[in-house]
Symmetry: C2
Subunit: 208 residues, 2 copies
């Protein structure tokens, strides 16, 4: 890599965004972060890693709904931490980790509002991966192993959760093309095609 | 060109979408259509070309508002044609022309809901071009020649009109990444960079 580049990948569930991120990181020989951010955030903060997993990409309402349905853990109240609802606190810790990683070196970060968190970093290239429903359902059933009868429901709910998380923290609108430098339909061009397009973008930006 | 390809370009006002479309058509050596569609639609239908210009990329409400503010031409009523509001009729005529062009040969079509009209055509590659506000205002003022004091207002109103037109006829949401195979921030990568990315996509799809 000639110069530092931080590629953030937001993605519809089932679009292969994580796989695209992994292949991209491998080709560019730079680190890849998705759920591994949670481990780093837990380490940094000393907060139980399970709590981060529980709050992962959930907005206030998503987190609260999950807490309420799990009252055995949190009782009948919103978990608070340092005067902030727990999920906001976890978001801040995760944001700090994301900024630290982006400052130190090139990398690929999947999800977790990274495009918004790094919006003022000139090295950041925000990307969105989506695909048509048929292609996504096919991946969800045959690669992620979710039962056919549940696949559509899981797909819709996961994207609703991701959108709510993004919209809550960014004040923007998840999936709007103008949030990103590049949005690609992985169903149209394939996983490798999407990787090639992102690499082309990185090359073009490096040459500017 | 190895095989037929129809590239539709939707674009934010000031993003350079038309210029990108023209350069793309030139590089691929295929025809380019934007406002020229209006001439073809007028020829095909025998309807006054001025009426098409008047209705161009305006939805029912935009068309009606423009008619109302121009009551000298249409009086105090919605112009009707063959039992349909005039703008719907013009949309149908324009759609027929777009389908005819897309059937006969490769081309680039800018605006006019072409991605939606050609949504079932397997040769169609729908693209969206956007850019950040600063870059768009710069283009609107210095290239399109709109007065600085009016530029922001014209930009916002034109995009609102385009969105209303698209949403009215497609039932979808203009500017949502998942309407398109590729969305590019021309401010991030430049006009030529956006052209290169679209050509890369065409090559990748031709190779599939």
């Amino acid at each position: 890599m000639k110069s530092k580049v931080v590629i953030t990948i937001a993605r519809q569930f089932g679009s292969g965004g994580r796989e695209i991120g992994e292949k991209l990181a491998e080709k560019l020989e730079i680190p890849f972060y998705d759920k591994s951010l949670i481990h780093l955030a837990a380490q940094e903060s000393g907060i139980d890693e399970d709590l981060f997993h529980f709050a992962d990409e959930k907005s206030f309402h998503g987190f609260w709904a999950a807490s309420a349905s799990n009252a055995g853990i949190y009782g009948n109240r919103i978990p608070m931490f340092n005067e902030l609802p727990m999920n906001d606190q976890l978001f801040l810790i995760q944001s700090k980790i994301i900024r630290k990683l982006a400052e130190s070196d090139s990398c690929v970060i999947v999800g977790r509002c990274a495009d918004y968190i790094l919006r003022d970093d000139p090295h950041t290239i925000p990307v969105f991966i989506h695909s048509d429903e048929e292609d996504r359902l096919n991946r969800i059933i045959h690669i992620y192993g979710i039962a056919e009868k549940d696949a559509r429901d899981v797909m819709i709910k996961t994207d609703k959760r991701r959108a709510a998380y993004y919209n809550y923290y960014s004040g923007g609108k998840w999936g709007r093309a103008d949030n990103y430098d590049l949005s690609v339909n992985s169903g149209s061009v394939g996983i490798d095609g999407a990787v090639d397009l992102i690499i082309k973008l990185v090359e073009l930006k490096s040459a500017l």
